[in-house]
């Protein structure tokens, strides 16, 4: 290592000078020690400096959104029973310079007077915006052709599961959903909701039958009810 340092010096062109320097280096063990000490010192300073830098960079890892941030989607009359409607809300994590990116759409399906399903706009495959087709009762994704049934379960295409669902509650005359952030396979699955998972992971080979529909609906509804009980606004 000491040898490497000497080669950096400008006067190493002549071999005699080089040898002279080497001899000096070996003899001056005190300076050698001080040099090593200075390297060590700077290493320590660097390590200390790294703490705030790494901390700053990892800042966004902590989910800034308080879990259970409820956002109102509007009065219940907006959502006729049996229909699926596109609704826009402002995400709670917005900054003043977010502009229109701070708005977020979602699909609200009203199953009955008190039963809803609120789907994230993002396809479970790679997050593209899915579109609802009333006639065929399908959600279709424009990117890679993921298709979902009206209850959000996977119908065909590359997604490995159904649409992401928001937890919802009805307080008074208002429908509210629990917003966490951009739904992806990891950011949704990592949420710690009390008992039932927010979304049920479905097998890729899930067909469409009446029974599957029914179980999916009932479990979602119970999630919703439980949500309103244990997550007061």
């Amino acid at each position: 290592m000491a040898h490497d340092e000497t080669t950096e010096l400008p006067s190493t062109a002549h071999p005699e000078q080089h040898e002279e320097l080497m001899r000096k280096l070996v003899s001056r063990s005190r300076r050698n020690f001080l040099f090593k000490l200075s390297v060590l010192l700077n290493g320590a300073v660097g390590a200390v400096l790294a703490v705030p830098i790494v901390g700053y960079l990892l800042g966004p890892v902590k989910n800034d959104l308080p879990v259970g941030h409820w956002v109102g989607l509007g009065p219940l009359e907006q959502f006729p029973t049996g229909e699926t409607r596109l609704v826009t809300f402002r995400t709670p994590a917005t900054t003043p310079w977010d502009g229109e990116t701070g708005d977020m759409p979602c699909w609200v399906r009203r199953i009955s007077a008190s039963k809803f399903q609120v789907f994230a706009i993002n396809c479970a495959h790679l997050g593209c915006p899915v579109r609802w087709f009333e006639e065929s009762k399908l959600f279709m994704c424009p990117c890679h052709g993921g298709v979902y049934y009206q209850d959000g379960s996977r119908a065909s295409g590359p997604p490995e599961r159904g649409l992401f669902e928001y937890e919802y509650k009805t307080a008074g005359n208002t429908l509210s959903i629990n917003v966490h952030g951009l739904p992806t396979l990891a950011t949704q699955a990592s949420l710690k909701t009390p008992k039932n998972p927010l979304i049920q992971i479905q097998g890729a080979s899930n067909g469409c039958c009446g029974s599957t529909d029914a179980t999916a609906m009932s479990s979602t509804t119970s999630t919703g009810k439980q949500g309103s009980a244990s997550w007061p606004a």
Binding site: P60, E135, Q150, S190, G207, C208
Partner: protein, 498 residues
């Protein structure tokens, strides 16, 4: 007399700087260093062209940054302003955009040339490895640059990036948040991609280019390959020096003029494309509530977009996570495994074949992504009409079926008469392939990547639809028949004979 004095003054000034900087000697040595005469070839112009493009990208980038507003709320508007209100702003944007496409293309061609000429072999292994890093950095610039355009494609492209990140087991969620700078795509997201695009990646890129060029100077340019001239670590240096001693020519001016001419052609091409085709977008505003969009990445990422459509769901995550490190690792380590031996392409059939297979594969995916046969055509059901000849002489129920066929969005995935989606098979001759029973089953239960319509169609609608589908027999071919059906309909007397 006066002229001589001026000349002396210039020389004195130069000497004053040279005495203090000491760079002139190094520059002269670098410029005049001998290169093998055959290496002063038109095949050797791509590296310098990429460097010239990089300089142009830095210059146009700085000029754009004079106006661009790197905030999520204003970036898109400031690009519109650049396009329409700033004098020649559209041209600078076009230059930067086309410059990026040209740069990736030239870098890829450079890489192919280096691979075919065996230039990555001893002693230039590290030059190749740094080159692989440069390719990745260039692609990084292209991806972050696409985000700078902050339009719909950029917004949903970020969503795709986050979705891929989220598939990494264990740390997927934190990575998504680090990438986006928060829980959603918004202000902090654009700001950090701006920092990456303008400070971080260019800094590393310029430093790596410096190292790359330094090694080219230090090790000498790759000698033009000759069949039978084998690279051996023990003898290569001597052979190279002998070659240079025998027929070396100074890089400046004997070799460099071809680089200069090619760089000029490339620059003119960028300017021509900018003038003729104009700037890239921006497409629609980055408003996620406008969902009538079909996001697509820029040209050089289209093949990835296509691959993502074809991976089966259960394989997607493993392949997404395992394939890139393997591909990058193989590219990086290539010279360590093949550092010696033949350089000439005629003696390296496997290398040539590999290159061809990779090029054809990428080209095929690229081509597919240009017309995305896997995506439903969202407005085909209402936009693509059924030609009248498909409805001639149909019974009322069959015409009802045709209406069901249109209304239930079947054509978003199924083409008829060449119009409609290509997700499923075209149905012009479906009745020659499937019997009535098979069609009913397929419609109601789905399968083979088709959704089930059992819950969506009433029995009447199903009957009408299948009756219509039964008329789809291109050129009046015979309908498909169920061979087992005949057996049940045989007269009882016939059965006696068995």
């Amino acid at each position: 007399m006066a002229g001589l004095k001026v000349k002396q003054n210039v020389i004195d000034t130069y000497n004053w700087f040279e005495r203090r900087l000491g760079l002139g000697e190094f520059a002269a040595e670098s410029a005049l260093h001998p290169v093998p005469a055959k290496a002063a070839s038109w095949w050797y112009v791509f590296g310098s062209a990429a460097t010239v493009l990089l300089v142009m990208q830095v210059m146009t980038g700085i000029l754009l940054a004079l106006v661009y507003a790197p905030t999520a709320g204003h970036a898109w508007t400031s690009l519109q302003f650049l396009n329409h209100n700033v004098t020649l702003g559209w041209f600078l944007r076009a230059m930067h955009g086309w410059g990026s496409d040209f740069m990736i293309a030239i870098v890829l061609i450079h890489m192919m040339q280096v691979f075919l000429f065996g230039a990555y072999k001893f002693p230039r292994e590290l030059t190749w490895m740094v080159g692989v890093v440069l390719l990745l950095l260039t692609l990084g610039m292209a991806f972050t640059g696409q985000i700078m355009r902050f339009d719909q494609d950029a917004y949903w492209g970020l969503g795709i990036g986050a979705s891929i990140m989220s598939r990494i087991p264990g740390i997927g969620a934190p990575l998504v948040h680090i990438m986006l700078g928060g829980p959603v795509i918004g202000g902090p997201t654009l700001s950090r991609f701006f920092a990456l695009h303008v400070f971080v990646i260019p800094g590393i890129l310029l430093a790596a280019v410096g190292v790359h060029v330094w090694m080219v100077l230090k090790l000498g340019i790759n000698d033009y390959p000759m069949p039978g001239r084998i690279v051996r670590k023990s003898t290569y240096d001597r052979e190279y020096h002998d070659l240079i001693a025998k027929d070396g020519i100074p890089f400046v001016p004997d070799g460099v003029w071809k680089d200069a001419v090619f760089a000029a052609i490339i620059m003119l091409s960028v300017m021509f494309c900018s003038l003729y085709f104009g700037p890239f977008g921006p497409t629609g505003a980055p408003d996620p509530t406008i969902i009538q969009t079909a996001p697509k990445p820029d040209f050089f990422f289209l093949w990835i977009y296509a691959v993502l459509a074809f991976l089966p769901p259960e394989l997607e995550t493993p392949l997404l996570l395992i394939a890139p490190p393997i591909i990058i690792g193989v590219m990086l380590l290539l010279p360590l495994f093949a550092g010696e031996g033949e350089k000439h392409w005629r003696k390296r059939p496997v290398a040539v074949l590999m290159l061809l297979v990779i090029a054809v594969t990428l080209g095929a995916f690229e081509k597919l992504a240009l017309y995305t046969p896997w995506s439903p055509v969202m407005d085909a059901w209402s936009g693509a009409e059924l030609p009248a000849r498909y409805l001639h002489e149909l019974a009322p129920i069959e015409r009802q079926g045709a209406i069901v066929f249109q209304n239930k969005q079947c054509r978003n995935c199924h083409a008829v008469a060449g119009q409609g989606g290509q997700r499923g098979p075209s149905l012009d001759a479906v009745a020659t392939r499937m019997t009535e029973d098979q069609m009913v089953r397929q419609v109601l239960q789905g399968g083979g990547n088709m959704p089930a319509y059992g819950n969506t169609l009433s029995p009447d609608e199903t009957t009408a639809l299948v009756d219509f589908l039964k008329t789809l027999r291109e050129n009046h071919l015979d309908p498909a028949r169920d061979s087992s059906n005949g057996l049940g309909k045989m007269p009882a007397t016939a059965l006696h004979h068995f």
